[in-house]
């Protein structure tokens, strides 16, 4: 079988295809690259956060979302009259106090349709402290489903922050997501720091120089060093 580039170019399309194949060209063999990669094989590997963490976070997130969905569907079915409405104990102020629960399972409080949205874990909500019903940390009127919201994993935080910054243009929220709680670690730590630099530049809070210096110190050959250098030079001007 002959290669396309060896066949006669009868028409314009064939000659364009050949030109594109030539433009791609075979991979350039580089001895320098070979030595560089060989050296890096023996270098100590960077300490990465255990991957189990984000999986657990994801599982908790799915649990939270499914709980919210179940409560939502229950509320909708009640609203549609598929089952008799339960008394709104929270509204009546009859939330069972701690220690007086007769059963270990607390049925979800009927949530109006517009409040179901609130029940879905929000990236901006503070990390939940899993308050018990009737305890001091949970007001009687608060939707109980909020307690099921798990803390966002590092991956989810970076993802949400990127969406906030790029899609919504909300640098403030991106910074909140990235800086609230423990710093992002693991494979996306570099991305998180670069995002913080970008958000700081967008917001103009004057912190980009410190962050950029930090980035360049931690990742001298990092993927976003150009971004850091640019942020640093702009802050000096």
């Amino acid at each position: 079988m002959k290669r396309l580039s060896d066949l006669p170019a009868d028409d314009r399309l064939s000659s364009r295809a050949q030109a594109m194949i030539r433009a791609m060209g075979p991979t350039v063999e580089s001895e320098e690259r070979m030595r560089r990669v060989r050296r890096s094989l023996d270098a100590p590997a960077p300490v990465a956060a255990p991957r189990r963490g984000w999986r657990v976070g994801l599982a908790l997130g799915l649990l939270g979302v499914s709980a919210a969905a179940a409560a939502g569907s229950s509320a909708v079915s009640r609203a549609l009259g598929f089952e008799p409405p339960a008394p709104d104990r929270a509204a009546e102020g009859t939330f069972p106090s701690e220690g007086k629960l007769s059963a270990p399972f607390v049925p979800p409080v009927p949530v109006p349709a517009e409040r179901v949205v609130e029940a879905v874990p929000s990236p901006l909500s503070t990390p939940p402290t899993t308050p018990t019903p009737g305890s001091a940390s949970m007001p009687a009127g608060a939707p109980t489903l909020r307690a099921a919201a798990p803390p966002l994993s590092d991956v989810a935080r970076v993802h949400e922050a990127a969406k906030a910054l790029r899609h919504d243009g909300d640098a403030e929220r991106a910074l909140q997501l990235l800086e609230r709680g423990a710093p992002v670690t693991g494979p996306l730590a570099e991305e998180a720091l670069a995002l913080r630099i970008e958000a700081s530049v967008t917001r103009g809070n004057g912190r980009q120089a410190k962050l950029a210096t930090d980035y360049l110190a931690r990742y001298p050959h990092g993927r976003y060093r150009e971004l850091a250098k640019k942020a640093l030079s702009e802050s000096k001007q």
């Binding site: 290669r3 399309l13 364009r16 030109a19 791609m24 060209g25 590997a45 790029r166 991305e191 640019k230």
Partner: protein, 198 residues
């Protein structure tokens, strides 16, 4: 730096004999060095054929050999090139997923675009545009066809070598190449008609 057709010697005969072929759990540093020097350039070609961005090829090659070194003692003989080829495929897939996320995260508007400010000769620009179009077209093909097309048409592997690496019959490779070419030309024609339409 040089650009030459791939040396196929390493594909024909595994460079590492003895412990690997025999399934012994000990692999000496010399054996790993032989493996590395015999397959490094192939790994970079395969990574590119699997769709690894040029800037990330070093990372993929490094990760591939890290995995290979870690698992050498589990290799129970057979075709070494095919074994490393599979590792490269898995590593590149994982890398592409991460790279996708990074691309989404760092499509920085107005930041880190120093390349755009550099003066570029017209020829280089045209070549870059051709490469970009090529990537666009290849990304619309199925992975099997794209890999066969890339290895055969661009990297210069023979049909027999691709069949060995993929662990499939030669006719299967030719069928994939046939379909890949047809897809490629159809996609190119469509791209041309769209260009003319705009």
């Amino acid at each position: 730096m040089r650009s030459v057709p791939p040396s196929t010697a390493a594909l024909e005969e595994p460079p590492v004999q003895g412990p690997i072929a025999g399934g012994t759990s000990f692999v000496s540093p010399q054996e790993f060095e032989a493996l590395y020097s015999a397959y490094f350039h192939h790994v970079t070609r395969w990574a590119r054929a699997f769709g690894c961005p040029p800037a990330d090829i070093d990372d993929v090659a490094q990760e591939t050999f890290l995995v290979a070194r870690r698992r050498l003692d589990q290799f129970r003989g057979g075709y070494v090139a095919g074994w490393i080829y599979r590792i490269t495929q898995h590593v590149t897939r994982g890398h592409r997923r991460r790279a996708w996320l990074r691309r989404v995260l760092h499509r920085a508007p107005g930041l880190g675009v120093s390349q755009a400010r550099q003066a570029t000769p017209v020829e280089a620009l045209e070549q870059r545009e051709a490469r970009r179009q090529m990537h666009d077209l290849l990304s619309q093909m199925t992975e099997r066809r794209r890999t066969a097309f890339f290895l055969f048409e661009i990297e210069g592997y023979t049909g027999e070598e691709i069949a060995q690496l993929e662990g499939v019959a030669l006719n299967t490779v030719y069928t994939r190449l046939h379909h890949a070419r047809r897809d490629f030309m159809a996609l190119l024609a469509r791209a041309e008609s769209e260009e003319q339409g705009t």
